[in-house]
Symmetry: C2
Subunit: 216 residues, 2 copies
């Protein structure tokens, strides 16, 4: 940030104007859904006009990118806040509870972060960076529970996103699936511990598929 310090306060004012636009964008999106965001409505909500929007953002996708960047930062901040326990299992449970709460309290944010609902939009690597940090922290919480098998990590993401997805899709505002967090975590831990103590050898399956290969 050496050259940034030269015209720092100019850049700061520009940045705060950008932030105000992103604020308004999130308000609109929370109310009407991600796809319903329009530049006109956004300008109206922000108290400016549409050309002014384009003074700060090159395109609508650039706005989505800034929204993504803020959401990713919030996600990383929330997930890396200190956990009050030393017990690895309890930290894991608390992490999922935070994750579920983070997602369910703002479904639009969840959609933008973890699904791909905007045709043609992909977040820039800068906007994506904080999300990587958070996902790495999640990997570490699993590691202190001695879970490092890549297949188990994939199972973990399936379990947690499944809870979130069902909660948002089928019981918005309720706790029907989020209240299952503790049970799911214990199920998962029990399975991983036993399967690593005595690696499971699949018996002859009568299913419709052939045997599967166990990747490293």
């Amino acid at each position: 940030m050496v050259e940034g310090a030269a015209s720092g306060w100019r850049e700061a004012r520009r940045q705060s104007a950008r932030d105000a636009i992103v604020d308004a964008a999130w308000e609109l999106v929370r109310a009407d859904g991600l796809a319903a965001l329009s530049i006109r409505d956004l300008a109206k909500r922000a108290g400016i006009t549409t050309p002014t929007i384009y003074a700060y953002f090159d395109s609508k996708h650039a706005i989505y990118d800034a929204m993504f960047g803020r959401a990713a930062a919030e996600f990383a901040d929330r997930m890396t806040e200190p956990y009050g326990s030393e017990n690895p299992r309890d930290v894991l449970v608390a992490g999922v509870e935070r994750f579920v709460e983070f997602c369910t309290t703002d479904p639009a944010r969840y959609q933008l972060l973890f699904q791909r609902p905007i045709p043609g939009f992909s977040p820039s690597s800068e906007s994506f960076a904080p999300a990587v940090r958070a996902l790495d922290a999640s990997r570490q919480r699993l590691a202190v529970n001695r879970i490092v098998d890549p297949r188990h990590l994939d199972m973990w993401t399936a379990l947690t996103t499944g809870l979130v997805d069902q909660q948002i899709s089928n019981d918005p505002g309720g706790t029907r699936w989020s209240s299952l967090t503790e049970e799911v975590v214990d199920m998962f831990l029990t399975y991983c511990q036993t399967s690593q103590l005595a690696p499971r050898v699949p018996g002859p399956s009568k299913g419709e598929r052939g045997g599967r290969d166990r990747q490293g």
Copy 2:
């Protein structure tokens, strides 16, 4: 269908014209995504003009509803085809494998059936009926595995949709999550069997939430 028999062949021709439009709609949606469907493109693809579309459907939502109805029928047909095994566990595994394959081979169909991606659209009860039949069959496959606790049923939907969601979102066309099906089923069965033999009593949690209530 008594009064339908009177003008049966007229209705049949009308129905086949409707089917052709729905065919074209699914082709477009598979290629460009659910939200990208437009009446103009649809008419062009179907070899007719836009007013002709409105001779068969009252609105765009009515088209989505017909698309939903077909998808639900396909879903029910596929999921209720006979399973080649008598083993309850193997039937359960095969069911998930079918479910995952059904969803991943046509993500747009999955989205329309199981998520709510069209603002303002809800399927009519007639279109939804076949889906109910399929979900009930799923409930029965769990019941023969002695799984009837409502909480376990909810866990089950979270597990299966989690696998599908991760597979579609993060490895489209691959098998990174779908190949975990058998392990996930066994993890779930093991957990349910032990938890019903000896109901789990949660110890003092050091997590961030208070105790949870175990609903019936």
